[in-house]
Amino acid sequence: MTSRVLEVAGLTTVLKTAEGEMRPVNDVSFHVDRGEILGLVGESGCGKSMTALSLIGQIDAPLASLSGRVVLNGQDLMLLSSHARRKLCGDRLAMVFQDPMSSLNPVLTIQTQLVETVLAHRHVSRARAKARALEVLQTVGIADAKKRLDAYPHEFSGGMRQRVAIAIALLNQPELIVCDEPTTALDVSIQGQILAEMQRLCSETGTALIWITHDLSLVAGLADRVAVMYAGQIVETGTTLEVLEAPRHRYTEGLIASTPAKFLGASRSRGARLKPIAGAPPSLARLPSGCPFHPRCAHAVARCQSPLEETREASGRTFRCVNPGPGANP
């Protein structure tokens, strides 16, 4: 059996807002194995970034109340003190954010930022830390890394800056890296370079990766498994092949039908159109009863309005739908 790096079970984050209680993360369960890439897919406001922040411990009381289990290589992080949890960040857990210009410090050279990340977690000499910094910069494909160590973030292009942010995440050889849409702001040619880089790193170092994105076509080539989120819940999980080729949940089905990328590769018949999902996602403060997707769903039945359980197939595939799509073998 492959070794399980992260196991999330029943993770729930409750925010108290002026509009009432919201659950941007609502009973979320998933796992990631060693060297595996999990794609966490959903539209804006579905809770995918809140899931990431909750599991790395960046959202906490009094802002929110968390429950559930987040187990990193056998250790339940939810039982740790906030100080102990914080020490894990940048060490055993790392995160790469969407906008490197706001995650890097603009007034420090990248050398300072890289070295400081090593020294915060390891008792090594400054020279060793610097050598490590140089090494990771080369790993992520920054040309002339030695010279670039003394540069400030603004002296890098967008793609190079994101590489620096990824380098910082890699410094202490974390067990898990969470990437929150790191290539969304980049051009396609740069995105391709970074995706290739990340795939190589995961298979070489065995680091587990959670890749958050709204883009199904990105997940198609990158991820081993996919989890689809809607209104705070994971509505479907499975291998990338299963989920994209034979979706069970009707939301996943709608998302695939809305994606223009399905016209690439296949030849498009003239006048063929996308089939969008009607309506818009619900507000987290006023969720519909039962399945949160039922008001937009073309296949909704009466039972959709009462609370529903997750279906788990023998293959490990899960979905929350009472009237699911046919899947692979109907």
């Binding site: 396609v188 040619s189 709204h214 039908a257 994606t259 990328a261 690439l264 159109r273």
Partner: protein
């Protein structure tokens, strides 16, 4: 170039928009040092954001303009919409010369300007935060005398009905709308003055996939209903493929390839286009290799000599460094700017 264009003109009639040899340069705000340098006669740094572009858009067509950030596609969009004056070259909209017009005919000029309208990427930034939707929609028609103040509400109702919204949104402010609703208001506002050409600059890039599909279909519906012509600027090849009749590929201020949509995706000619298509992410699960175009787009302040793409091109030859390739026919209705096409 002209041979292919003439062939197309014969087939589809007169061009609605004709841009010829368009050049647009921007210079950074001069510092004291550069002012002194200017006095001493040294040349000033400037960016040729659009570098000699010729294009025509025919009535009823959806033309997509594809390029990465910094390629000059937004500048070209603003030129096409008539929002930016040209440094050199000409822009002609359906027969009337828009660059040199009689000042006495200012009103006719303003009317002419209304014929091309623009839809922007971020609808929240493009809508006045302090105006209610009804005022956003009717301001331009009122100013230009297209409707009378008494007709304001009826006109606004007709406009939102066209984009699939209900009466309730009229009294709202932009921040009270969802992203999809804002995009629809942005479109309704552009349509309010009865344009013939819509220039969409990354109009769906900020939207979620399910909403983006709704808006793309709305564009197609409106085209059929109102006989609109589109210049659709995007970096997203999948969106382009789902919408466009003809595609222009832009790199560092120049058009490098032009082709009908199907043919471009089936058989790209220019190495840059080929690289872009290889990058495009598909829903194909088995494709697990990301083959990247090497390197990054060079600084537009110092574009490479000859073909701008040669430092990143896998097939670059000695000639590519020395000589600018010309955009010339490589097939019926197809143009490409690459020396490789002469090599055979």
């Amino acid at each position: 170039m002209s041979a292919a264009v003439k062939r197309m003109e014969k087939a589809e009639g007169e061009a609605l928009l004709q841009i010829t040899g368009a050049v647009k340069t921007f210079a950074p705000r001069p510092s004291l040092a550069t002012l002194l340098a200017r006095l001493s006669g040294r040349p000033q740094p400037s960016v040729r954001a659009v570098d000699g572009v010729t294009l025509s858009i025919f009535r009823g067509e959806i033309v997509a303009l594809v390029g990465e950030s910094g390629s000059g596609k937004s500048t070209l969009a603003r030129i096409a919409a008539g929002l930016l004056p040209l440094t050199a070259g000409a822009r002609q909209l359906g027969g009337a010369q828009a660059t040199r017009e009689d000042a006495a005919r200012a009103r006719a000029k303003a009317r002419n300007r209304l014929r091309a309208q623009m839809i922007f990427q971020d609808p929240l930034a493009a809508l006045n935060a302090r105006m209610r939707v009804i005022d956003v929609l009717t301001e331009a028609p009122l100013v230009h005398g297209l409707i009378k103040p008494a007709q304001k509400r009826a006109a606004a109702l007709e406009m939102i009905d066209r984009v699939g919204l209900a009466e309730g949104v009229l009294a709202r402010f932009p921040h009270q709308l969802s992203g999809g609703q804002r995009a629809r208001i942005g479109i309704a506002r552009a349509l309010a003055v009865g344009p013939e050409l819509l220039v969409c600059d990354e109009a769906t890039a900020a939207l979620d996939v399910s909403i983006q599909a709704q808006i793309l279909n709305l564009f197609l519906d409106l085209k059929e209903k109102l006989g609109l012509t589109y210049l659709f600027i995007s970096h997203d090849l999948a969106v382009v493929r789902s919408l466009a009749d003809r595609v222009l590929i832009m790199y560092l201020g120049r058009i490098v390839e032009e082709a009908p949509c199907e043919e471009l995706f089936a058989a790209p000619n220019h190495p840059y286009t080929r690289g872009l298509l290889a990058q495009a992410l598909t829903l194909d699960v088995k494709k697990r290799v990301f083959s990247a175009v090497k390197g990054e787009m060079p600084s537009p302040f110092a574009p490479p000599s000859g073909c701008h793409f040669h430092p990143r091109c896998p097939a670059a030859m000695a000639r590519c460094k020395l000589e600018d390739p010309v955009l010339k026919p490589v097939g019926p209705a197809r143009l490409s700017a690459c020396h490789l096409n002469d090599a055979t």
